[in-house]
């Protein structure tokens, strides 16, 4: 009961983080490109989403350690998928932070390309998540 609740709470954070990073990046481009002001708000949401992804990812490991005194037992392709997810999350945080810092000096094309890159990173992370789930 307590174990399932613990994992479920971490999973809730992880799911909402995933929605924020992918949905935010897509919404900034489509159906209409976001204005500079709304783009900054979305960037803050996406940054929060990536940070939540990292924190909740650590949370899965922490919950496992708390309940069983050990980390999840994954091998092979699952480990590769985990590293892809970690790489996406770190790159996502850096790219969003750079966006928030440098965006005032950028052209619309650069802003647009940043959102495409962030959406692709999020899509890659979600794809890797499926491999992590089912190949371990």
């Amino acid at each position: 009961m307590g174990e399932n609740l613990g994992y479920a709470l971490v999973q809730i954070a992880h799911n909402f983080g995933a929605v924020a990073v992918l949905g935010g990046a897509i919404f900034a481009r489509w159906p209409t490109p976001a204005t500079r002001q709304s783009g900054r708000r979305i960037a803050r949401l996406v940054l929060a989403g990536w940070i939540i992804q990292i924190a909740s990812g650590i949370g899965f490991g922490a919950a496992s350690y708390f309940y069983y005194g050990r980390l999840p037992d994954i091998h092979g392709l699952a480990v590769a998928a985990l590293f892809v997810k970690i790489g996406c999350a770190i790159t996502g945080v850096v790219l969003t932070a750079v966006y928030l810092k440098r965006e005032p000096d950028w052209a619309d094309t650069q802003r647009g390309n940043s959102w495409i890159a962030l959406a692709l990173l999020a899509a890659l992370a979600l794809t890797a998540a499926a491999f992590l789930r089912w190949f371990s």
Partner: protein
């Protein structure tokens, strides 16, 4: 207020006891090879197993010499082993939870490959 806290505490203790009782119901049996069995290095060897998962269980991992070599989705079945080098090997079947953490329901045997 104190009564509510006491009732809540009792509820958690009860849930813990129920969980503990359920936890003892999980089991793993490696039906073959038998512990200490001799296997032919040139044969296709199989592990036959039977699992009663218990609570918090999700799926089963097969380990050869401590390394995960297969994910077993069925609770009962047979799995073909990869070619094993001659020598002593440890085979383990462990029940894991949704986060892929072994939950302590497992059986390990050793086999001599010749």
């Amino acid at each position: 207020m104190k009564k509510k806290i006491a009732a809540l505490g009792a509820l958690f203790v009860s849930l813990g006891l129920v969980s503990a009782a359920y936890a003892q119901t999980g089991s793993v049996k490696i039906l073959s090879p038998a512990d200490g069995a001799k296997l032919d290095a040139f044969e296709q060897n199989h592990v036959r197993y039977e699992v009663v998962p218990g609570p918090n269980a999700d799926h089963v991992h097969l380990y050869v010499d401590g390394k995960e070599t297969a994910i077993l989705r069925g609770l009962k079945g047979s799995h073909a082993l990869e070619t094993l080098a001659p020598g002593k090997h440890e085979l383990c079947v462990k029940v894991v939870n949704k986060a892929h953490v072994p939950i302590g329901v497992e059986q390990c045997i050793t086999a001599q490959v010749e």
